[in-house]
């Protein structure tokens, strides 16, 4: 005869083991790195006051009459190539945003790049750098439309 306490104890042990198994973390290598456009900096230092940072990214100031360029760091998981990225943003009607994704080696030498451009209300563009070494740096140069005509949301490094 199995006592009630014994049954409860066995069930409790089983529940604990099942919980522990279910609570195990998933494979830790499928990680994207999303970097907001708020990390961008003015490409030309003299234009620093023309750049406006908002909660969802970066844009030109409302009173800035012409386009401005920003450069944005792109943290990424160092993985084998090719590596893909998404650039995301939004444009006002009749405005467009263009940019370039760059890879530089650890000696500061240009390796590869890919350009993008969009006049869509919102854009979500997939770019590929091939190859990009695990020791390379990646950055995004973005030409923003004038007068707060577009917001660059940021870059996502896929893995």
């Amino acid at each position: 005869m199995v006592s009630r306490v014994g049954l409860t104890g066995k069930f409790g042990t089983f529940a604990l083991m099942a919980g522990a198994v279910l609570a195990l973390p998933e494979q830790a290598d499928a990680v994207n790195l999303n970097t907001s456009g708020t990390v961008c900096n003015p490409y030309n230092v003299g234009e620093a006051n023309d750049i406006d940072y908002v909660v969802n990214g970066v844009r030109t100031g409302v009173n800035v009459a012409s386009g401005r360029t920003v450069i944005c760091a792109v943290p990424r998981p160092p993985q084998s190539t090719p590596q893909q990225f998404f650039v995301d943003g939004a444009n006002s009607v009749g405005r467009s945003t263009s940019g370039t994704l760059y890879a530089y080696d650890f000696n500061g030498t240009f390796q590869s790049s890919q350009n993008f451009s969009s006049s869509a209300a919102t854009y979500d563009i997939l770019l590929t750098l091939n190859p990009v070494g695990s020791w390379s740096y990646v950055s995004t140069l973005v030409s923003l439309p004038a007068s707060a005509g577009g917001v660059f949301f940021g870059t996502i490094a896929l893995q």
């Binding site: 370039t100 350009n115 451009s117 190859p131 695990s134």
Partner: protein
């Protein structure tokens, strides 16, 4: 009569002795583990002496085991305080893992090999005269917009989907202007890859391949 009484007395004595042996309660024993539980001999006339001898043998054996355990623990303490140098097995994974410097050198080598393949593919690419002329003029116009790179341009050749631009000059100047040059190519020639060649005079030649179309990653 006297002899009968003697036999009776002896018989009663034997009966009493037998009763004591048969009905004696066993002594309470401390529990012992199965591993060290001695196999006690059955009680007989010399039972207590044999039990005592057996228990003495067990105690002696346990003392020996205790000494062995202590010796092992002492050895471990000494080993922990004075660890022996680890001799790596060359066939193990840890020995095969590259150092950061080796990994960087390997990465640079892979890039050079990749660019060799890109250069070879460009040489084999057929020439589309119309496309080549159009893109040649486009690139010349972009280079004219940048006095530094226009002066550094030492070669320009277009084929059917790829153009090769050679820029030779001061490394700082070329590296500073190159990103804006490829950015200026926009959607016309949106992809670029470059190989750096250091010249003996300190200058650098950047051989830049710019390409029109999106292709499979392995091809470019």
């Amino acid at each position: 009569m006297k002899a009968r009484a003697g036999y009776a007395f002896v018989g009663l004595g034997l009966l009493a002795a037998t009763s004591i042996v048969v009905f004696r309660r066993p002594e309470a024993k401390a529990p012992v583990s199965a591993a060290v539980r001695p196999e006690l001999p059955a009680s007989d006339g010399h039972g207590q002496d044999r039990q005592l001898a057996h228990l003495r043998a067990e105690v002696t054996s346990l003392k020996g085991q205790l000494v062995a355990i202590r010796t092992g623990l002492d050895d471990r303490v000494v080993q922990a305080k004075h660890p022996e140098p680890i001799v790596e097995d060359p066939s193990s994974d840890s020995a095969a893992a590259p150092t950061p410097e080796e990994s960087r050198a390997q990465s640079a080598l892979e890039w050079r090999e990749h660019m060799e393949r890109v250069a070879a593919a460009f040489v084999e690419e057929p020439v589309d005269r119309s496309w080549s002329k159009e893109k040649h003029e486009f690139l010349e116009s972009r280079l004219r917009n940048d006095p530094v790179l226009n002066a550094a341009a030492s070669g320009l050749e277009c084929r059917s989907s790829t153009c090769r631009v050679e820029l030779t000059g001061d490394p700082i100047d070329v590296n500073k202007q190159l990103p804006m040059f490829v950015h200026s190519l926009g959607e016309t020639l949106p992809r670029a890859e470059a190989e750096r060649i250091d010249q003996p005079d300190g200058q650098v030649t950047m051989v830049v391949y710019v390409k029109e179309h999106q292709t499979e990653p392995d091809e470019f």
